[in-house]
């Protein structure tokens, strides 16, 4: 049983409310932080090794240290709660069930960064969660943890909740800032980075919900102690939202030392695959990260057991590895069709492309159409190469990473499942009633012995 830092109290009755949360030790980190110098808090976060939990995995302490601090200009902290990456629903869980851990983490972070007005930008569809957060904010204010001169520290701190309105792109931090300013969610060209010119042209830090919540245990226990949990540069705990063909979909907090195999099959986590079916493939970090066939998922190309952490999941690069991403863990059993799955993801990215950059705006549409054709038995062999060509021309050629996010799932599907695509083309009628099945995707991989 791994240690829980965020969800330890998630099942305490009434934990959504301030009184219970406080009784269970909540808001201690605010009391501790207000006795510290803001720079020392940034130092603790640096020591913790915490990496951004939204998907990019950038070190949080380093991001904070980039924040410009010109005299007389306000600074802002914005919480990115625009959770929209298919397969990802962990922030929702945190905000819905323990909203105060986010508020607490934000107050500490705001104090560290010197931000008096802070915003939670939450995806519009999570409408009822916005209400839960607002209720929690009111409770925190009524108890002196928000508002003017909190706990007599001289520090003023307000948090406002703002709902988006249905646009995946607003999870990209500069698109989020545009949206918060009341505009279309078109990502900005960087530099300048938000740390210099962000919300209303002021220095801004944008952090994911889980990242800000993790600041609470870091301050309570110290950055060094946090950094000892996990392995290598994967410190602390990570929330994984598990879905697809598993017995126990849901949110799991893991310390990043367990194997992927244990995560899928252990009763403590996903509990295996329903109806005794076999594992075919998995997208372990949200829909943008490369899909892997069962064999490469469970074992790296070197033949080592793959672990649920940043380094191990990306072992082998994109040739044989994938990414931790947002922790959206999507499992596909032997009856699932990779072409169909890739098609739905391509449709998603076409729908969510903001339209600013031609390679993404046009390319995502082309990929969707071609994949739909192949899925419906109307594809040609040359379509597979065409898809490969299109995704290569999108990747790296757009203002924001949505282009890459749209390209990678298509690239990985062709890289690892090319014969399934070919089977669809060669069997245009059969593919409408039958799947390619597990084929060889779970077979042990021959690892060449090196001298």
């Amino acid at each position: 049983m791994s240690r829980k830092l965020l969800l330890e109290k998630a099942h305490v009755e009434g934990i959504r409310h301030f009184d219970v949360y406080r009784r269970e030790g909540g808001y201690r980190s605010v009391e501790k932080a207000l006795q510290m110098a803001p720079a020392d808090i940034v130092e603790e976060v640096k020591k913790s090794g915490l990496r951004g939990r939204g998907g990019a995995g950038f070190p949080t302490g380093m991001k904070w240290s980039f924040l410009a601090k010109p005299e007389g200009i306000p600074r802002y902290l914005v919480c990115n709660a625009d959770e929209s990456e298919p397969g990802t629903f962990k922030d929702r869980y945190l905000m819905e069930f323990i909203p105060h851990i986010l508020i607490e983490g934000m107050v500490v972070s705001a104090y560290a960064l010197g931000s008096n007005k802070n915003y939670i930008y939450i995806r519009g569809e999570y409408a009822w969660i916005a209400d839960i957060l607002e209720a929690a904010i009111d409770e925190a204010r009524n108890n002196g943890f928000l508002g003017k001169n909190i706990r007599g520290s001289g520090f003023d701190c307000e948090i406002y909740v703002q709902r988006g309105a249905g646009a995946y792109i607003c999870g990209e931090e500069t698109a989020l800032l545009e949206s918060l300013e009341g505009k279309r969610g078109n990502p900005r060209i960087k530099p300048p980075f938000p740390a210099v010119k962000g919300l209303w042209d002021c220095p801004t830090v944008v952090n994911n919900v889980e990242t800000l919540a993790a600041v609470v245990p870091i301050i309570n226990e110290g950055g060094e102690s946090y950094s000892k949990i996990g392995v290598g540069k994967s410190t602390g705990t990570k929330l994984i939202s598990a879905c697809g063909n598993i017995n126990k979909p849901g949110i799991y907090e893991i310390d990043m030392t367990i194997t992927v195999e244990e995560f899928i099959y252990s009763d403590e986590y996903c509990g295996g695959i329903p109806n005794g079916k076999r594992l075919k493939a998995c997208i372990p970090g949200g829909s943008s990260v490369p899909i892997l066939p069962a064999n490469l998922l469970l074992t790296t190309a070197k033949g080592e057991k793959r672990l649920m952490n940043y380094e191990s999941l990306s072992d082998g690069g994109f040739a044989t590895g994938t990414m931790m991403g947002s922790g959206g863990f999507i499992v596909l059993d032997e009856d699932q069709c990779i072409v169909k799955n890739t098609y739905t993801l391509a449709r998603f990215y076409r729908h969510e492309s903001c339209g600013q950059c031609s390679p993404c705006r046009e390319g995502t549409g082309w990929m969707e159409k071609i994949l739909k054709n192949i899925d419906e038995g109307k594809g040609a062999m040359s379509d597979i190469d065409l898809l490969w060509d299109i995704q290569r021309k999108i990747e790296g050629n757009t203002i924001c990473p949505l282009g890459d996010a749209a390209a990678w799932p298509v690239a990985a599907a062709i890289r690892h499942f090319r014969d399934e695509f070919e089977w669809h083309v060669k069997n245009p009628e059969l593919c409408l009633t039958k799947n390619y099945g597990l084929a060889h995707y779970a077979d042990p991989i021959h690892v060449p012995v090196t001298a």
Partner: protein, 163 residues
């Protein structure tokens, strides 16, 4: 003439107070949500013009935003809108069947509204409920772990609420 009631105008003023002086345009998304809820579930041009006047911005600044975000409806919709997720994780758990069932049950296509103006069927992309698939959004809330029986019950529930 489109106007908010006094308590809604107070709400708008409260939202504007979240931002620094002169940044009232930031209130656009929340005020559009409020307008859509208030004026029949969609944003007609006079409604958008009214929002522009409240925030002291040009109407085009409202139109370009309203047309960008998928939650704003630019055409009338039914009293109840079924927004069914169809992205990867929901598809793996049978969302195609649920969508087909709703189409057949309500005798409408995707994007259409029943003749009595009661139901609209819309397909949407990932709503962040992947572990509880298949699912749909209905008003402010999610309906999860959908089955044909649950869809029947939801339709009945809406009909009885409307009566």
């Amino acid at each position: 003439m489109v106007t908010f009631s006094q308590d809604k105008l107070d709400k708008v003023a409260e939202i504007i107070s979240h931002y620094p002086e002169g940044r009232q345009k930031s209130a656009l998304l929340p005020v559009l949500h409020l307008a859509q809820e208030t004026f029949g579930g969609w944003l007609d041009v006079p409604v958008m013009d009214y929002v522009a006047s409240l925030l002291k911005i040009e109407p085009i600044e409202v139109y370009e935003v309203a047309s960008f975000y998928s939650m704003y409806n630019l055409k009338p919709v039914g009293k109840y809108m079924f927004e069914v997720c169809q992205t990867g994780p929901c598809m793996l758990n049978g969302s195609d069947d649920i969508i087909a069932y709703i189409k057949q049950k309500l005798n409408i296509g995707i994007g259409e509204t029943t003749a009595d103006g009661m139901f609209t069927l819309k397909t949407v992309e990932c709503l962040g409920a992947c572990g509880y698939a298949p699912m749909m959004q209905l008003g402010k809330h999610y309906r999860e772990h959908l089955t044909r029986e649950k869809v029947d019950a939801i339709i009945e529930e809406c009909r009885s609420k409307a009566n």
